[in-house]
C-alpha cells in the first residue's frame, strides 16, 4: 500500500510529513526509554524480517496482490505502538530511497498509514481482544487483519482528500482488496508470534504483561 509521489499534491504531502515527524519524534522518545540491551536484537530482527516479508506479494483475486505490513506484529511483540512507528519508518526510508518503493514526498503519509495507524490499531485491538481469548493467537490474527483493513480505509480517505479517488469507490475497492490481504497479515502475525512465544516466552510475557 505504498503511495507513490504522483498520488498526493505536494502541499498535502508536506502536512503528512509534519504529522509523521511528530510521531517519529515520539517513537525516538519511546526508543530512548524502552530500548534495553535485551530488546535491541529483537528490534533489529523485526525490522529486517518486516522488510523482507514486505517484498513477498501474494496473489489475491481480482488480478491483485498484497503483502504483509508488519506494524501490528512489531507493536505487539515490543509492547508499544511506537515500536511499530520506529521500525516501519526505517523500513519505509530504505524502501523509498534505495528501491523506489513508495514516494519520497509522500513518505510522511506512508509512515502515518503503515507505522502510526497500523501500529496503534494493531496494538490496541490486540490488547482489547486478549482478555476475551486469553491466548495470543486469535487476538494477533484479529489485530493483523484489522490494522491492515483500517490502514487501507485511511489511505482511501487520503486519496479522496487528494482528489484522486472518489471517496465511495476508493473505500469500496481498498476495503475489498485489503479485507482479503488482511487474512495474510493476520495469519503471518499470529504465526510469527507463535514462533517468538515458543523460542522466548519471556519476551511475550514482558510485552503483554501476561504469560503465554
Amino acid at each position: 500500500m505504498h503511495i507513490p509521489d504522483a498520488f498526493i499534491p505536494l502541499p498535502q504531502a508536506a502536512v503528512y510529513w509534519i504529522i509523521a515527524l511528530i510521531f517519529i519524534a515520539l517513537s525516538l522518545r519511546w526508543a530512548r526509554k524502552e530500548l534495553s540491551e535485551e530488546k535491541i536484537p529483537l528490534v533489529a530482527i523485526l525490522a529486517a524480517g518486516i522488510f523482507a516479508i514486505q517484498a513477498v506479494n501474494i496473489p489475491i483475486p481480482w488480478g491483485t496482490s498484497g503483502h504483509m505490513m508488519g506494524a501490528a506484529l512489531a507493536a505487539i511483540v515490543l509492547g508499544s505502538p511506537f515500536a511499530a512507528v520506529f521500525i516501519l519508518t526505517l523500513v519505509l526510508i530504505v524502501q523509498g530511497v534505495l528501491f523506489g518503493d513508495g514516494g519520497l514526498t509522500v513518505m510522511g503519509a506512508n509512515i502515518i498509514n503503515m507505522g502510526v495507524i497500523g501500529g496503534f490499531v494493531g496494538y490496541y485491538s490486540y490488547r482489547g481482544f486478549y482478555p476475551i481469548f486469553k491466548s495470543p493467537y486469535a487476538p494477533a490474527f484479529i489485530a493483523g487483519w484489522l490494522s491492515l483493513f483500517i490502514v487501507s480505509l485511511a489511505c482511501a480517505a487520503e486519496m479522496a482528500v487528494a482528489g484522486t479517488f472518489p471517496l465511495g469507490l476508493g473505500l469500496f475497492s481498498m476495503g475489498l482488496y485489503h479485507a482479503v490481504i488482511g487474512i495474510i497479515e493476520g495469519g503471518i502475525t499470529a504465526f510469527a508470534i507463535y514462533l517468538i512465544a515458543t523460542a522466548r516466552p519471556d519476551i511475550m510475557a514482558d510485552s503483554t504483561g501476561v504469560p503465554t
Binding site: I3, D5, A6, F7, I8, P9, L10, L28, A31, R32, L35, S36, E37, E38, I40, L42, V43, A44, I45, L46, A47, A48, G49, F51, A52, A55, V56, N57, I58, P61, W62, G63, T64, S65, G66, H67, L90, V94, G96, V97, L98, F99, G100, L104, T105, S152, C155, A162, G163, T164, L169, G170, S173, M174, L176, Y177, A199, R200, P201, D202
Partner: protein, 117 residues
C-alpha cells in the same frame, strides 16, 4: 529457552531465506492500492483481473495531472532490481536491503540506548 544470540541468528536466517525467495515467489499483480487506482481510472475492472497496459499508462499521466506532483527520483535499485541481473539480481537487492535495515536498526538502537540517562 533460546538465548539472545541464537534468537538473532535464527531470526536473521528466516529473514534472509524470505528475502532470497521473494523475487521468485512474489506475484507481479498490482498491489491493492495500484489495483484500486487502475480500477478507478479505467485501466481494469475493480473486480476483474485484466489490466489494460495502455490505459494504465494514461491513468498515471492523468493522476499526475490531478495532483500536480511531478516529483520523481531515480532510486539506485528501482523495484528491487539490479541492472540486468534478472531474478537473482532482485534476490540480491532484497538481501542487501534486509541486511541494511538490520544494520541501521541495530546501529540506531545502540546509539539511542547508549544515551539513556
Amino acid at each position: 529457552m533460546m538465548d539472545n544470540k541464537t534468537l538473532i541468528f535464527s531470526g536473521l536466517a528466516i529473514a534472509l531465506v524470505i528475502a532470497a525467495m521473494a523475487p521468485f515467489i512474489a506475484s507481479s499483480n498490482p498491489d491493492g492500492l495500484e489495483s484500486a487506482f487502475f480500477g478507478i481510472f479505467g485501466a481494469k475492472e475493480i473486480q476483474g483481473s485484466d489490466l489494460n497496459e495502455d490505459a494504465a499508462g494514461s491513468a498515471e499521466e492523468e493522476i499526475t495531472a490531478i495532483t500536480g506532483n511531478e516529483f520523481s527520483f531515480g532510486s539506485p535499485f528501482p523495484d528491487y532490481s539490479i541492472g540486468g541481473l534478472s531474478r537473482f539480481g532482485e534476490a540480491a537487492a532484497v538481501i542487501i536491503g534486509t541486511l541494511l535495515v538490520l544494520g541501521i536498526a541495530l546501529g540506531l538502537s545502540r546509539v539511542i540506548a547508549s544515551r539513556q540517562g
